[in-house]
Symmetry: D3
Subunit: 269 residues, 6 copies
């Protein structure tokens, strides 16, 4: 039995319940997508990365990682290339909202009061917010009001110091980091077998006019699917990212969820 | 790059597209749940098992495995113990239906015409059917009519011969096999580190009256959560199950999807 | 005025309210379908039979029968022939769920606390469960928590002794009893004018592979629409079924709803 | 077998299909409610009356009557007393809309192209219209455009001549005819055993201000639930109503559905 | 800053909150549509008129006018010409219901307990009722039960005396007043620049059979889009209407919302 | 009659139809919200500004402005202060999505093929995208595929040159421009009577951690509701903004909608 696992679903229910019933253990829910990430990376990047961040953070704060959502909201042209690529496999907003709402309410039913959605796919953001708003509304109707939910996207914890190291030639914004240095460096460090940097296509950063068009002009997106070149990615940069984001998220959860969270997993042993 | 992977989301999109665009490669979509499985097994059994069956079948028929759905429909008392257990984390029917509907339509958009839902959680069954019916309806509205979708639960391929070996003292039906010999044997064979047979609770097979009550009488379910004792489970029985179910599913897909399916993965190398 | 009627909707509201306001009178809600039942039976079998069982049980336990739902969920190939037959007229899952949810909540508003859904169409089962789950959730939000709802399909009360009499040549399972001996015998006993046994088509029991395909292979279903031959049906077998199922359901309701339920209708006279 | 039945669900499917497959036979769908109708009438008046009108019209025009919808939209204070009465059992608008939409689409799938919704409960009206609009939209998406659907409430066919006979002391409008002379006379003629005129409460016609309030002021509704006194009702007036409404509806369907409709049921014998 | 404005959205939030926080100030929510109104009037008549009535009433009772809903339910042939006209731009019932439900709940969150929906488009009526029913249900789940909501259509306050002046040659019912004397007179008085009476088409009053058909027979509607001639409209009649309707609505709100409502806006100065 | 109006709903339908029937006239749909904008501005800023931009652009490109949506998605803490302020009156995501979807489909029914959503409230963005995606899907099902929809938020057209003039002391990002220099300058120029700059609260720019919390920490938002001080706003800066944004939007529409769009309104005179 995986008494040491940080993955909630790898525990038997009595052990899970022993940990969570008083509501102090943070539950981290990774939310990803199946989305093209260029010629050099697989389509589960947005699942693998937030799941690994969630695992590292859970280790630090004594939390548990819920099963990841493996499909997310439709890829947007300016942040993911667009939903017209083969392979990109997306949910309508309503499906994402209702599924996450259900899962939040179930974790609350178990006794959890400290949840954290760890987002790995930018386009999920607003639908995650809506899911949380609806879940809190229904939980309140059912008499549960003391719950707290943190939402974050791991890249938002990259600070200026890290950016300077990662992008010595200048940073062009997270929006076009789709399949670029950020994600590729993390994958190179964590899942090198799934990356084939030599297949990456070098191209200038994507640039878009200040509006969207539907159906999208497919030719606005570089044909390879990435929005900036990953050629400068490296496992070393992955280490920088792992460090700064993990530390940042741990700090956020400690701040929001309080001293009890600091209890390490060791205490459960 | 995982050119050899059977997992669609481990491919880069150009390789994925190369394989699927003519519609002949079966896409296998595992549908699981996060559900208590007694004191001796983790709560992701219903994800791990159909995903592994899907992977083995994909190897045989040259198919690809889609990312699994990690949450499923509410546990029913007579087949999963009931949705009141801590840890069991379920979706409303509407969430399951709309999410799977979306994903089916997306795979069809990519060009796929041969899909197979590999179910690992009995309670998903009818909502999967509804999702498929709605997806086919909308695909038809969009002009796609030639698609074929097979739905199966792996245990339905266990034949009488295997049952005789697995249950020498008599078989009491799949309904109470929750956390019992079937699932435990497969987990012992595939994920022994996640099983702790010594923690299993021995108890007589659950027996229920011929009706349901809501809210459920929690004391109808054995308090450990399994519906029959897993004590007779073994890795050897896991082999029997792996063999009979994999062969059965492969046969079904070859029958339904035709000769082209037999093309082994090797052809893509 | 039908003071003696077991049908709630045949009462004037003051009499109805006099009976139900303290919450002790069971309300039985028949849920049927409009579905083909072969060449020898009408398409309202699944409405007529649960309504008649509900009426008989209501007489025994002092209950009231709500108006039946006359349309149900889509016919499934392995239990009802499939939803492609002309005449079969079905609801989407969402329609069934929301309609039944509404009706349960309305009966609770009247003061009822003991409900029983009497199902006559197998395919309704899971959507009935979902409707109840959602209704109980919303009732709880509105402050009503003490309600109890029994769900049953009448055929589940046929015991081994009855099966031995009904199927002297062996029983092949309820799944293929669509339009077969069970339903035909009951109809012959209760509504002989609606049965034309000479038009029944004799055919071997339907047999299906252990998976489903969508769109369904129509030729998997016997072209007449029944899944087993009704030739051995008889009014006498209908009596056996009426007796065993009525007794079984009465027993279940007495067990679940307690002594007060035993009060016969006579007390209202 | 009821080859002569006007009720579609009393036919076996081959006979049903023989009649409807060319799309010329009108399908009449009664839509009712379970609603209090005062102290003297049962709560299924709004089901019984449109079903009987549908049956009579079907006889005249060679049509078929679909199973009635037995629950309808919430009772409105000014036309049904209000939805706060015990016994009144209503659907949310969304449930009515989606259920009727489904049924219309199913009848279209069978080949029917001439449908008529026969409404028996005023409050259903707008939700029936919405259901039809959505059904026609989806049928169009599926390639079916030539369908025609008539919607009517039987009382709208009472002409001035009949009104003069029915209300010799002056007519106050259909809005307050809830449980009054119209419905009571029809019930006295058709279902006298379900009427207890001596229990009717005599009261002046309900009068309401020109606005609505929610939650409703319950004391705006006469406490007995009717909106006008049924004391002047009689079976003879029921005959007048049966005649004028049946003739009117038959005329409407002949006008809308054309000559082929006139084919009497006899032709099927 | 518009401290004197009757329009809630023209206030800064602190001033708004100062007024509404004790729940005594009526909030008037105009609900309109974008709908053709013949050759002589613009398509926002159903927004402009209820908004102006709401403003006048708000002045009298010390209320505030919420932003109007600018789109409404589908035009019905017998009251608005039908939804097939170019320009008429309508919502599905579900969209109207959920939007208004949301807005009602938000105003209740601010502390408001006295709401009034001022309807300007007949077809909205039943969907407004449903929205209110659902909003009150959810507010009750959230613990807010003391709220009161008045719904009205301004034309329902025209009394017999006014009708005699407006229609000296006889009144044919509000149903065919679409684009006729009522609306045109009001527009001539309030927005003369938006009316071009010389472009109005004179035609006999529309007359319809006592049933509806879908898809509608477009030729049942006068081709200009109005249902009765506006030729007898005048600004003077507009004054009569403004007076009788404003007085009526003010009286209704004073009656329903009590003495505190009478406090004039002056008190806020 | 306002033959010269840029507002579609101020036209009579024949004139509207004359203009739009060939599909070349852009329809601009403003989407706003009712949201607090600090102590110095009204709560309809997000309606007034996009409506005025739409009007100016329509004049330039010969387009028409649809009625604005007056309610929008829930205010987010980091871009609008949060949805807990009194006065802020918001829709659930589903309501926004379905309402806009309906309206887009209706304009397409009239013949329009060039639509532009002019957004005035950041939080609407993703739900607008979803509405468009669903509308295009359904339009495609109905056979309309050649439609093009541009989505924009006016502030995205402010270029670096303008930013240098507007924020001589440095620009902190659009995210905290809620109620700040941007919106206040535009309002001072366009609706000075609705602005009370002396009531504005001076405060340092809001700064937020890189995550969200639900329920929100209300004290993260400056208590006045703005996210940056509007003290440096001026009507002159409003002129700069009007100029750069109008020119930008006109250019975008000319680019996307082609030469025919350049036809000035004059041609309709």
């Amino acid at each position: 039995m995986s008494f040491e696992s940080e993955f909630a679903a790898e525990l038997a229910w009595p052990e899970y319940y022993r940990r969570v019933k008083n509501g102090d253990v943070p539950i981290l829910i990774p939310f990803g997508s199946m989305e093209q990430h260029g010629h050099h990376m697989p389509m589960n990047v947005d699942v693998l990365l937030p799941t690994e961040f969630a695992r590292r953070v859970a280790q630090e704060v004594g939390g548990l990682v819920a099963p990841p959502f493996t499909y997310g909201y439709k890829s947007h042209q300016k942040s993911g290339g667009g939903n017209f690529f083969p392979g990109t496999t997306s949910l309508d907003g309503a499906s994402l909202i209702s599924s996450l709402k259900d899962v939040i309410k179930e974790f609350a039913r178990h006794g959890n009061r400290k949840l954290c959605i760890v987002n790995g796919h930018f386009e999920n953001s607003w639908f995650i917010s809506e899911a949380i708003d609806l879940a809190l509304r229904e939980l309140k109707w059912g008499g549960i009001t003391e719950i707290k939910i943190v939402v974050l996207s791991y890249w938002d914890f990259v600070d200026q110091e890290a950016i300077a190291k990662l992008y010595p030639n200048g940073f062009l914004g997270w929006d076009i980091e789709h399949g670029g240095v950020l994600e590729t460096s993390l994958m190179l460090r964590l899942y090198p077998d799934l990356v084939s940097l030599q297949d990456a296509v070098e191209h200038p950063p994507a640039s878009f006019p200040p509006y969207d068009v539907y159906p999208p002009h497919e030719d606005w997106t570089p044909s390879c699917g990435t929005l900036s070149s990953p050629k400068e990615a490296s496992a070393e940069k992955g280490d920088i990212l792992l460090d700064v984001c993990t530390r940042g998220i741990v700090g956020a959860l400690e701040h929001e969820f309080g001293a009890k969270v600091r209890t390490k997993l060791a205490q459960f042993a």
